[in-house]
Point group: C2
Chain length 315, copies 2
């Protein structure tokens, strides 16, 4: 198939998939469910009336439910796709309405605090397997989603030690059919890994854009004009959804502060090298960092194509 996502399944994996929260991730899941035939019925719910109306217009769900509680009735897969801070309240709302045997999962960017907030509200008759697709763009909302978002990306599942193995296999099959690679780990390890690969990078991107905005010696107009030297890429990262990222930092505090501590130690050392004019130390570090890049390209998580203004020139 021209989109690289392969043919639809012969048999849907789930009867009724309920997606709660239809932003970038929720709408992308709806698209891929339809594209690959993963569900007999796709049901969408969202706290916002505006979003519900838009989802109905866009037509990528079979049904837009008036509430999360309505949406999960009879669903054999429920995926919470709302902001991290909303997961606990949603779990409390849907808990009494979940079908026995249902698989409940989520896509939140942190895991320990979501497990703590969600698990207590779920009946023992359902199987809760938290998840986080490591895929995204800087855009949000129901118009931002597309079927290929998870293609060749990783989904991290953090099943409890006693998780039902058949449910885990079914959820894994769902993500594999969506084009993702599945990895399992503990919620604690997830939060540490994502702190360094995602949360701290976002934090320092937000920080430097803030620093640049507050300078007196250099105007904002100059910062914008001359951003092609590197700054521009940080502004893209720092244009991600403020609420989502606030929630992430509030909910992964310890791991973020730990990784930020390491970052700061290393930056102090680098600062000292510059002050002392230690050219060998600088070029040693600058050479070493290339190996990681090569590994990422080899793993298919990036292309080797040069970046000069990101397509700006082709348009």
């Amino acid at each position: 198939m021209p989109d690289g996502l392969g043919a639809p399944l012969f048999e849907p994996l789930f009867d009724r998939v309920a997606l709660i929260g239809i932003g970038l991730i929720g709408s992308s899941l709806a698209h891929i469910c339809r594209r690959k035939g993963l569900a007999r019925r796709i049901v969408a719910a969202d706290a916002s009336k505006e979003v519900r109306t838009r989802v109905a217009e866009l037509g990528f769900a079979d049904e837009v439910a008036p509430s999360a509680a309505e949406a999960v009735r009879g669903a054999d897969l429920v995926v919470l796709c709302a902001p991290v801070g909303a997961m606990g309240p949603i779990a409390r709302e849907i808990g009494p309405h979940l079908a026995p045997g249902a698989i409940v999962s989520d896509v939140g960017s942190v895991k320990v605090s979501i497990v703590e907030a969600v698990a207590p509200h779920l009946p023992a008759s359902v199987c809760f397997i938290p998840g986080h697709p490591v895929a995204g763009t800087e855009y949000s909302g129901p118009d931002a989603g597309f079927a290929a978002l998870f293609h060749n990306r990783w989904i991290i599942l953090t099943p409890p030690a006693d998780a039902d193995q058949k449910a885990l296999a079914r959820l894994s099959a769902f993500w594999t059919a969506a084009g993702a690679n599945v990895e399992t780990m503990t919620p604690e390890h997830h939060d540490l890994v994502l702190a360094i690969t995602s949360h701290v990078p976002h934090l320092i991107a937000y920080n430097i854009v803030g620093t640049a905005a507050d300078l007196e010696a250099v105007t904002q107009s100059e910062v914008m004009k001359f951003s092609a030297g590197g700054f521009r890429d940080f502004t893209r990262i720092a244009s991600s959804d403020p609420i989502m990222w606030r929630d992430i930092f509030l909910n992964n505090k310890d791991a973020v502060l730990e990784m930020l501590g390491r970052f700061n130690e290393d930056l102090t050392a680098l600062q000292r090298m510059i002050r002392r004019g230690d050219g060998d130390g600088l070029s040693e570090l600058f050479t070493r960092t290339r190996a990681i890049r090569r590994g990422i390209i080899a793993q298919g998580q990036e292309t080797a194509e040069p970046d000069f203004g990101r397509r700006a020139q082709e348009e």
Copy 2:
């Protein structure tokens, strides 16, 4: 014309353009000189025999000179395109061989230290107008260049207060014909602006990639796998040429340390917000940083297209 660079000039702006140092920038200049007919003759020189051989093979120059001194003989425009640290020695070598009335410029990423290193070696009969095209990719060498590199990018010129205005106009016309927008400022201001828009962003990208590589709790393989969450973009920046960047930090020490000091102050405040759980403070900053992004897109220095693995999915 399909490449967006417009028709060639009716009349070349210069008779003989000598490019000293044929890497990404030097080869891109040669390509655009030929593409737009900016010079009657393009002469290339490079310290490395290998590069000279390769330039001759690639054929984008009319002549490959055996030395910089040979290259500049009779040239009415000389552009130094070597690493920042090599500019002083090159100026000493070419000084005695420059034609009276020649314009000498450069493309180095820092300006104050280059002016200090180059100016003393140039005869009073030439006009020295330093420059820095704010354009680039993470690749280097004579194969990396292309004619459109400077298209819709800024070239910063830092003419001395008593610069010949006709020479400045001719050099500006050259860059304008290459597709660039010209801005002039002092070398000191240039170094401050670039410290925040380019040098500090590169430094912190190198730093976080180094931090990630040194962790024990998270493996390098995990860092690579899950890089799509934001880290990946930093690795691209941190794969830029180590020697070029070493030279930049050694030669723009004061401005870099000043901007890094601001960055650190702001990061400490952000860290405190996370520790205290100050959600309002976090989302205020995360919202404010979006305005800068919008400005950059409005100025044509970036597209608004979402970035999800940078074309990886199309290939």
